[in-house]
Symmetry: C2
Subunit: 591 residues, 2 copies
Amino acid sequence: MRFFQNQIFLLSIFLVISASIEDGDNNLPYCYSSKSKNQDVPVTWKCDRSSKKCVRTITEKDDDPLSCKTSVTVCKLLCDEYGSLWPKPTGILNIEKELTSINVGDIAFVMTISDSNSELWNLLKELQNYFLEILRNSFKNKNIARGGNELKIIFDIKDEETTSFVQDANENYTLTVNIINNELVEVLIDGENFLGVRHAIETLTQLITYDLISNLVLIPKRVFISDAPFYKHRGILLDTSRSFYTVNSIKRLLDSMAYNKLNTFHWHLTDSHSFPFVSKNYPKMAVYGAYSSSQVYTWSDMIEIRNYAKIRGIRIIPELDTPAHVGEGWQFFDNEISPVILCYKSEPWRTYCIEPPCGILNPVNDEVYEILKKLYSEFNELFESDVFHMGGDEVTFACWNESESVTKWMKESSLTEQKYVKDFLTTDRYIIQIWTKGNNKQIADLLNDGYDVILSNYDALYLDCGYGAWIGEENNWCSPYIGWQKIYMNSPEKIIDDLRSKYPITAENPLSQVLGSEAALWSEQADENSLDTRLWPRAAALGERLWTNPKTDWKVAESRFLTQRERMVSRNIACDVAEMLWCYQNEGHCY
Amino acid sequence: MRFFQNQIFLLSIFLVISASIEDGDNNLPYCYSSKSKNQDVPVTWKCDRSSKKCVRTITEKDDDPLSCKTSVTVCKLLCDEYGSLWPKPTGILNIEKELTSINVGDIAFVMTISDSNSELWNLLKELQNYFLEILRNSFKNKNIARGGNELKIIFDIKDEETTSFVQDANENYTLTVNIINNELVEVLIDGENFLGVRHAIETLTQLITYDLISNLVLIPKRVFISDAPFYKHRGILLDTSRSFYTVNSIKRLLDSMAYNKLNTFHWHLTDSHSFPFVSKNYPKMAVYGAYSSSQVYTWSDMIEIRNYAKIRGIRIIPELDTPAHVGEGWQFFDNEISPVILCYKSEPWRTYCIEPPCGILNPVNDEVYEILKKLYSEFNELFESDVFHMGGDEVTFACWNESESVTKWMKESSLTEQKYVKDFLTTDRYIIQIWTKGNNKQIADLLNDGYDVILSNYDALYLDCGYGAWIGEENNWCSPYIGWQKIYMNSPEKIIDDLRSKYPITAENPLSQVLGSEAALWSEQADENSLDTRLWPRAAALGERLWTNPKTDWKVAESRFLTQRERMVSRNIACDVAEMLWCYQNEGHCY
């Protein structure tokens, strides 16, 4: 179990408008208005309007010269009920089934905000670069035909102050696309604040696609979308202690999170295995504790990451795991008389901890609190986050029980393993992150005790599960591997309903206490080599689960999910394969 | 079950000399003779000679000014019983525990062969580049100190004709390193033919390491190794039909195979899902059947891959899977009256095949044999291989049974599902690849029937196992995930012993009928994004299993295995994590 400390928390209730689809005029051609169909492309796709599926077609065998031939991405954009958007918008969704081309060299941005010296102004400039970079990336090595309409993007923002995600921030937006005089594509983005506007830009990137056949970059002629997330807290946990991840790989993670409208990067910075954080107060902790002098995060690295996240609407929640899960780095404070860390590297390790190397802070040494205070204040200054993660994972008392002074202290303060949580953590300042199975009674208990919670139930959200045991011959403890389908179906609503059928739930509105979820990548068996394939496309399923809270099952989402995977690959995220490309190209034939 | 066709096969019996280690003079310093120890490096490693493990040491806490401080790679090279070589040599192994530095800018090659216009000459030139490229790659971004001894590498080759691996080729070598006058490091490589010499170069790259502390490139002063593989056939199967792999990613695969002395790339080129092979006879098969016009292999691509493999001592065995496992591409021959392919994309697919899209060749259409003959002859010309793989996987008779002409033909030729194998495949020209579980009676039967076999028992060698089901909510059919330990312990000798305890084995020397093994990467759920992490470091365990046939278990190999993983990563192979880096850095403390 993990604990968040947060500043005053307000739960905002969203009005979730169930998605409504308007098909537009059925007489309109289902493809873009292109005069120069490239007949040299032998394989094209046709939308079957009754099944709403794209059908792979050998062009030279196709006896209908008037049939509409498109590349697979264009077909899916038009044929799919939800315009192949991921995650699916929760409000109104109206995409006209006719496309027009845009000139990627002729894109203008209009910002109607009051202060051009403000942080918002700078963030919007960065957001423009972000948008253009995605287009560049997606269309690299493509032979794009000249011409196309000008694209003008107009930002309208109500709250110019809120620029970072905080626990109660509004992320709503509306997005309108209109073609004017057949020469200008105007996009109006309306957001409560920067966060909504950013999400709208994300949606816009998904509406723009390159067509292999005409060599044009295309967008629907008219669009209206209103959208807002169902859950506030949509996160990924990354453990950078067991394995080190370079700044570049963390930036790639932030990119891919943004593509899926995930908004919280829970940075499990330290643990017992390595201490990569170069503290200003205690730089020697990294010297002693990092895997090497190049496998560290300096202040400048971390500020770079924080700013990179901010442009992407992502808040960083740093974690300094204590009192257990400490080890390397802390031996710097080695002091025989009053140790800061107890049981450092004690063996046999199974006696003292869950995983080598062992280590636990000495609660009766005042120096410990002095060090923590200084480290916390550095984290606070670095990450500007409204929430801080206090760790608290796997506190085993075996080590404390061996120390006379600690047992005396525990006796005096009536501390027992059982009482550890409730007495210390008030419901107004602490959020509990839950990593038991989804059907564990503790979830019901915590809800009944009034805690807000983040679900990271390991049976659906631990993305490191299912591999070989890192020691021994069997599979790792939380096997089997979790498919994207399970993540997609891991609905907090369903978890609460299932709990209610077994345990009394006295909380009045328990769902309102679930702030959201986090998928976790613990790094016993992952590092930046496997970062992309472990997380993606699976964590994209989490993105839609939390943003959309879909009522339909994974089968309904499958085609869009495969499209999102291909989209991410085109943006250089090395996603794993969820299904063969054949299934993406032959929708509905893999079942 | 799969079938190989091969030219006459001769089993060569190797004299396997059990490894003998000479420690050299115990009074010699256990580290290199460096005057300029970099005292700024705070963490170093010391060899504990009794446990033969490297101990991580905080230098500034180390009160012994005379203790030998090295970087972790140098410590492991000297401290490890087998010089951290992977796979472990099978013959004499004698590595002096003292290092000297070499100047990577001053490397000379001496080739004492008769004909400088021969293919061998060219291959040796390429091999030199290969060697230099590995050094460049391993030491990139390293701050290497100037100076060091000249390195001279002398090749001595008996058989100048054998340049490619064929089924009975000799791969033996000896490698001698000597320091002469404290200014020249002379390496003598003695091989029966190019293959042995190549393996010796591979071993040599593992003896050269960069030391972070002195900034020197180091090599043991004296080495003698004699080495030969236990099993002949040491392969990887890659399926490039379900997912496409670029030429570059296949080259990366060949590199990493070479690093582990694997010698056979079984290229499962085509299947029902896509037909990426651009045939000269039938170019339209790829037009119809490839995933896209850029996801194809042209003749020039394939020749490039073949030559790349050759320099690495790797033979390519191409496979055109038939009669089942055909589909996309074959619809080009569409002919209503006498179809070439039956049941193409038939649904419900479970009725007609194991995986969509269905398809099986029509055995009563003579055109089928004409097409196959032409495709086979292209493969033959392209790959110059002595072995060709005929597929034969998962022939379900459901489709054939529905065709009147096929059932008539089956009746006439007394063909039944059961009789399919034995009547057609003679033991002198066919090798059987086995993919059942390792304890399947069929293995005993095939050995008793006199077949030579390749083991790819799926319970230890299917590297795609253990992920989510690609359709549905559970895990894929061959779950769980297979850890490297299981692959390492998958000994053909043990498999035969276990079979013998349950079934009669009448073959006189069944082990001699096991030519080796192949690990398989089927691509329902893998593509070039996951290629490296799926295969490595796990397939390195196969490398030692087959080359060394170790009698000791994975625990004994663990430390060297982690070193091999780090070595491959330093050469840009995106290996997965087998154990936390902490375990590599703190040998013996993860258990």
